[in-house]
Symmetry: C2
Subunit: 423 residues, 2 copies
């Protein structure tokens, strides 16, 4: 079915999201040393309490609280010093009535102790005695003069993480801090989403391969490579890049073949009306239910096509021919919904959208949401400068950091804060 009504951007994105949901996403387990940049496909819970042992929050002497009852500076209690706890070591002694041991901040509380008297409330202060090597030597006594609250200065065994707690939720993108967190939980492997497989098809008699001489009237195949880059940015795998002449039979054969392995087929056509129709016709012919969006109320990006095949679970995407337009519509209506499905975050909540202040007015068309490419600069505050719309294809591509989206009929003024979708 070929539609005649333009879809709104919001509706196109929503329909795309539905298609991805019906497709589903595969998962795999990878080592955390290979997991950087991937997206969690499981809730990561802790199998244990962390730190898992009771520590002290202050430098002081571990005691039985009862032993220090009623102590004052004038009438301190004397307790026998039985040793010092070292960081990272399990104390080799137990606090019995009448004894105490020094524990540094973060040190493990010895068995038998139910409180610590901070060093400021002792007569020895910061000078920690050494336990005599000779067991028959005169014992050392510490004078303490404050009764601590039971377990008052103790840090509980689950202060950092509770057993069973979800520490990293499904959908988290794995950055250095998440890799470190996985290590802290003792996870060597983690379940992530498999990269989606994408096939890229460029059609047009006017296109030449990038390693061929540029004959007059021809242009190089730019879109295959910028779409490849976008796919790589979103962690996808490229299975195929095909550059075809305008030939419907060849296009059909290539699409059918690609559907066998690819999750997504991105076809970028020429700019003439006839060619666009060929992509739509063939997408609709080879797939079922077929095309669900044919034309978007977006400038540029109007000729965007979205389709789906239930049998092979392949997404079919047709993008405009102009390089910047191809990138914007592909990112907006394909990659952003996929990323939202994986991470649970909308595009504006993702790391791919950053705020900046406009340096000059930018207007949408009266009847269509409008994408405007911008370059970013970072001074005291980040600024986005619209790229002159007369810029030619390559200049626009090489200068653009991303684009802003302005709703139909709206105007953004110089100084307004905008959200820049990064390429």
């Amino acid at each position: 079915m070929i539609f005649t009504k333009l879809e709104t951007v919001a509706s196109a994105k929503a329909k795309m999201l539905e298609a991805i949901k019906s497709k589903g996403l595969e998962t795999e387990c990878v080592s955390i040393t290979e997991a950087f940049g991937r997206t969690l496909a499981e809730d990561v819970k802790s199998n244990e309490n962390i730190p898992g042992f009771v520590r002290t929050a202050m430098d002081g002497y571990a005691v039985k609280c009862e032993d220090v009852r009623g102590a004052t500076p004038e009438n301190p209690v004397k307790l026998k010093f039985i040793g010092e706890v070292c960081m990272g070591h399990v104390p080799e002694f137990t606090i019995e009535h009448g004894t105490c041991a020094y524990v540094p901040t973060g040190g493990m509380v010895p068995e038998g102790a139910d409180g610590t008297v901070i060093i400021e409330k002792t007569k020895t202060g910061g000078d920690i005695p050494s336990l005599p090597a000779d067991p028959d030597a005169e014992p050392i006594y510490i004078e303490l003069y404050e009764q601590p609250k039971p377990n008052g200065n103790f840090v509980p065994i689950d202060e950092d993480v509770k057993k069973g707690e979800i520490v990293l939720a499904k959908g988290r993108k794995l950055r250095p801090q998440e890799i470190g967190t996985l290590a802290s939980l003792g996870r060597t492997e983690v379940k992530v989403y498999k990269p989606l497989k994408m096939a890229i098809i460029s059609t047009g008699d006017e296109l030449v391969a990038i390693d061929a001489p540029l004959a007059p009237a021809k242009v190089r195949d730019i879109n295959s490579y910028s779409l490849m880059g976008l796919a790589q940015k979103y962690g996808m795998e490229i299975t195929q890049m095909s550059l075809l002449e305008d030939d419907e039979e060849l296009l059909e054969k290539t699409v059918r073949e690609a559907m066998k392995t690819a999750d997504i087929i991105a076809a970028s056509g020429g700019s003439s009306v006839g060619k666009k129709d060929a992509t739509a016709r063939i997408f609709d012919k080879v797939s079922n239910p077929g095309i669900f969006v044919h034309g978007i109320s977006l400038k540029p990006g109007k000729p965007t096509i979205l389709g789906f095949d239930d049998e092979t679970k392949t997404l079919l995407v047709g993008v405009p021919g102009h390089p910047a337009s191809a990138m914007m519509s592909f990112e907006m209506v394909v990659m952003e919904p996929i990323n939202e499905y994986m991470t649970g975050k909308s595009a504006e909540e993702s790391e791919f959208v950053v705020p900046a202040f406009l340096t000059s007015e930018a207007k949408a068309k009266a009847s269509r949401d409008t994408c405007i490419t911008v370059s970013l600069s970072a001074g005291d505050k980040p600024e986005a400068t619209p790229i002159n719309k007369k810029s030619s294809a390559i200049t626009m591509l090489s200068q653009a950091d991303g684009y802003i989206v302005i709703s139909a009929g709206e105007v953004k003024n110089a100084g307004d804060m905008v959200k820049v979708h990064l390429f």
Copy 2:
């Protein structure tokens, strides 16, 4: 030489930059299909004018201007129609006196023509005639009534890119748009910086490997993995990850061995004073000129160590033991200067720093620049919320999107715009 004076952050970064410059960076050529995320090590120039052929900017008829001289709507000039130019094709005819040909916007101007009469200034308007198949058939004439300016509607051969022009400068990070730009210039390979090789060494009797059971009083080796993630984020290659007990001889042997292959050695030690000194002592023993920064006026991050060995050109880095502190000081004084050297952009100009509005007050120490970890959220405007400083190691790691840096003695208030360094 072991220093006793704390280095300012700015001075530590500047010294680090000097060390990287003296080391230099190696380059390699890679296919543009493998170049995503890499950094250009050459200026990419165009070998040709692009588009390379003269096009028209408007739909119209290509003519010799002289032939239309004096034409008016009342007295149009009749010129013989000799054909239509197709997009992407070189015209197979030449404009001689008395003839004209239709050229669509963007089409190649046929030889002999020096102007186009736009279709609005013709009697045929948008109806483009077909050339009769029979050469003996009655010729078709077009009535034109405006003399165009010579070359007035022509787009020059170098409108998009001039031959010899630098299109992408050395230091550019290759994103999708740059990959597309390289394709447009016919570049199949490109010279980029080789990934730096990094060895990670963690020392401490209290540390256990992430796949070992967590005995009481022990903690898992988090820093090796978060530093690995940071290195991966900056495109580096990990050559080694070693977890050592506190043993100076073993540490020395491991560092000496790592220096043979690694460009950077990152050592993360325990928290006790004695252990820190061991790393500094050994770094200084095995390298020449040795340690050039020992202690930074930064909270946290004070125990950071930087050193360099001239013979092997190895950078030696010692970072604090607390996971968030290790990440902040490593990113700030190591990765940011390296990225600045490669790209020519300061940290704040890079993609790794984003603006946000503080949700609550954040203060620096009176005497030290202070890093505060924050979590980001994206509503109408992006917000950064300081993470409670009492948060334990793993909680802080799993909640932090990055950190802000506040100069000694300064206060940032709720609502202030801050720059968030992303992990």
